[in-house]
């Protein structure tokens, strides 16, 4: 066990980063389940981070030399989640009336406004940010004690959500909002719930990340980050919770591992360098290609159904439960082409 931990320790930063990335991908996935392309996650992530940073440096700073108590860390995460949820409701109520691209634009605007605010307010440390956020753990790998359970809990939650009435309402809205409304689903409430869940999750992750990264400023929640999470979801799979998780884990880990392998000599150096330095090139190409060829991402419900098909009666139910393959190219708010009202 010791040896295993020792071997993993240099990768501690990477492992925890992957887990956090998967969680952030899920925070984008939640509104997407209800057909909302919301790019607001980085805003809530930054917000949650600031909450934790301010609380741990101004309100409850630990004695010097003492590690930050894990209990306080969990409390911070809870507070961040709650405040993010409130913020999400505040923003969501007016914004969720919009559809499609207008909603995406509004969330982009929200993230930018939040960013400029955080650049200027004294409480957020202004443009310089907040440094020296206390550490609850000695090594980076130890953050897994908190990130791990959070990850498992979130995955279980989303998995359950997809099967429960609330989650099915999301799916119904995604497939056809008007039809869903006419069937009695209160669409605004459902959409708001999905948006709030996503925002809250992002806020919780932000609180943890603030301690993990040890410094927090306006650069932590930007439009670039939205593109990254979007890539995780769209490439990983936008129709099932496993998609964003795999997308986040793999797309964060692979470039790092490939760079490491370049050093070993398993790959020619230029290729390894390119795969690391050119990571964003690959992301962009994957995003564009994915939209054309894999509009639903790599991990789809059909794929999962096929993988579990060889397992007896339960598999048959799984096959029936998988939503009928949506029309090729139909995106989250898809009811075919031409819908572009505000």
């Amino acid at each position: 066990m010791e040896a295993l931990l020792g071997a993993l320790n240099p990768y501690g930063f990477l492992i925890v980063s992957c887990v956090l990335a998967a969680l952030l991908a899920l925070s984008l996935y939640l509104p997407l389940m209800a057909g909302q392309l919301s790019l607001a996650s980085p805003g809530f992530y930054a917000f949650g981070g600031y909450v934790a940073a301010v609380l741990s440096t101004r309100v409850f700073p630990p004695e010097s030399g003492e590690p930050f108590s894990v209990g306080l860390l969990l409390a911070e995460m809870a507070v961040a989640g709650l405040l993010s949820a409130l913020l999400a409701v505040l923003i969501g109520l007016p914004v969720l009336r919009l559809q499609g691209i207008y909603l995406a634009l509004a969330t982009i605007a929200f993230v930018e406004i939040l960013r400029v605010l955080s650049l200027n307010l004294a409480i957020t440390g202004g443009a310089v940010g907040i440094f020296g956020i206390p550490q609850p753990f000695g090594t980076q790998l130890s953050y897994l004690w908190v990130a791990g359970p959070l990850f498992v809990a979130t995955c279980a939650f989303v998995y359950r959500l997809e099967k429960v009435r609330v989650g099915r309402a999301f799916t119904a809205i995604r497939e056809d909002e008007l039809a869903a409304a006419s069937m009695g689903i209160v669409t605004t409430r459902s959409k708001l719930l999905a948006f709030t869940l996503g925002g809250s999750l992002a806020g919780i992750v932000g609180a943890l990340a603030a301690h993990f990264i040890n410094t927090w400023n306006a650069r932590q929640g930007t439009f670039d980050a939205s593109i990254l999470y979007l890539a995780f979801v769209l490439i990983g799979g936008s129709r099932t919770w496993l998609g964003p998780v795999v997308g986040g884990l793999v797309l964060t880990a692979v470039p790092e591992l490939l760079r490491g392998s370049a050093e070993v000599g398993a790959l020619p150096a230029w290729l390894g360098d390119f795969l690391q330095d050119g990571r964003l090139i690959i992301f962009g190409v994957l995003l564009a290609v994915g939209c054309v060829f894999f509009p639903q991402g790599l991990i789809t419900p059909e794929l999962l159904a096929r993988l579990s098909r060889g397992r007896g009666p339960r598999a048959e139910i799984a096959v029936e439960e998988a939503p009928p393959p949506a029309a090729v190219g139909s995106a989250p708010t898809g009811t075919g082409a031409g819908r572009d009202g505000p």
């Binding site: 634009l105 509004a106 400029v116 605010l117 979007l230 962009g284 090729v328 989250p332 082409a337 009202g341």
Partner: protein, 311 residues
Amino acid sequence: MFQNLLNGLAIGSVYAIFALGYTLVFSILRVINFAHGAVFTVGAYLTYVLTGSSFGFNGLLRGQSLPFGLPFPVALLLGAVLAGLVGVVIERLAFAPLRRRGADTLLTLVSSLGVAVALVNILQYLVGAEPYRYPSTALGALPTAINFGSAAAPVPIRTVQIVIFAVSMVIVALLTYFIRGTRTGKALRAVSEDATTAQLLGIDTDRLILYSFFLSGFLGAVAGSLVGLSVSVAGPYFGLAFGLKGLAVIVLGGLGDIPGAVVAGLLIGLAEAFVPGQYVAYRDAVAFVVLFGVLLVRPQGLLGRAQVQKV
């Protein structure tokens, strides 16, 4: 006061000139082409290369330069033509396949975003992320600034900013004439109303869409080069930053409305210039507050028509 006004127009005309290509594609295809910011950047770099300048110390092409150097206006036009071709390639790769499948506009948006990210990072891989500046002989013998005030109370505006303003006005006039007055322009409007019907009427929609992407890329490159002249080419990402503010501009002006884009650009520029001194640091937020407000209150923008949602 007067200085602020002029500053606002100067800043605003940069936004306007960026937004023109943006909104052109939207007016034809009803999609936001996020790759416009990338083409804007590519155009700036192409012009840089064509003036014979060399690259810095990072990137695959470090230290390289073309064996010849063109005067700035020629380099600008040639670079813009090349960038237009890039725009066409982007259309073929990212937009045409999706259009053929009748894909949702959001998917096209994301696809164009992917292309933008890839393009900008390829650029960075090739030439590094350091800032580049055009040769200062670019504007020839023109003075660097023109004083609109008096010697005692100077109100200077840099010449290059005046050039940008003038160019944006000229372009909007030409574009409006083109769209309203010529046959091709009318065909474009027909395609934007209903592509299928237009095709049935014998209009070659594919060709027209190619033209509009070429035009949009051309305009984007002109914008990029002029802005690069004004503030230096700050790195491969500088077009994407404009891309975000450009969204605010085209939404305010009404998505797809060409004169609207210019008017909105100038308005946002003025709003930014009139931010009072102690809040200067919030200036960047102005465009996005406007965007947010417009989306909530009047999503069709100032000059657009309300969209009727078909069921």
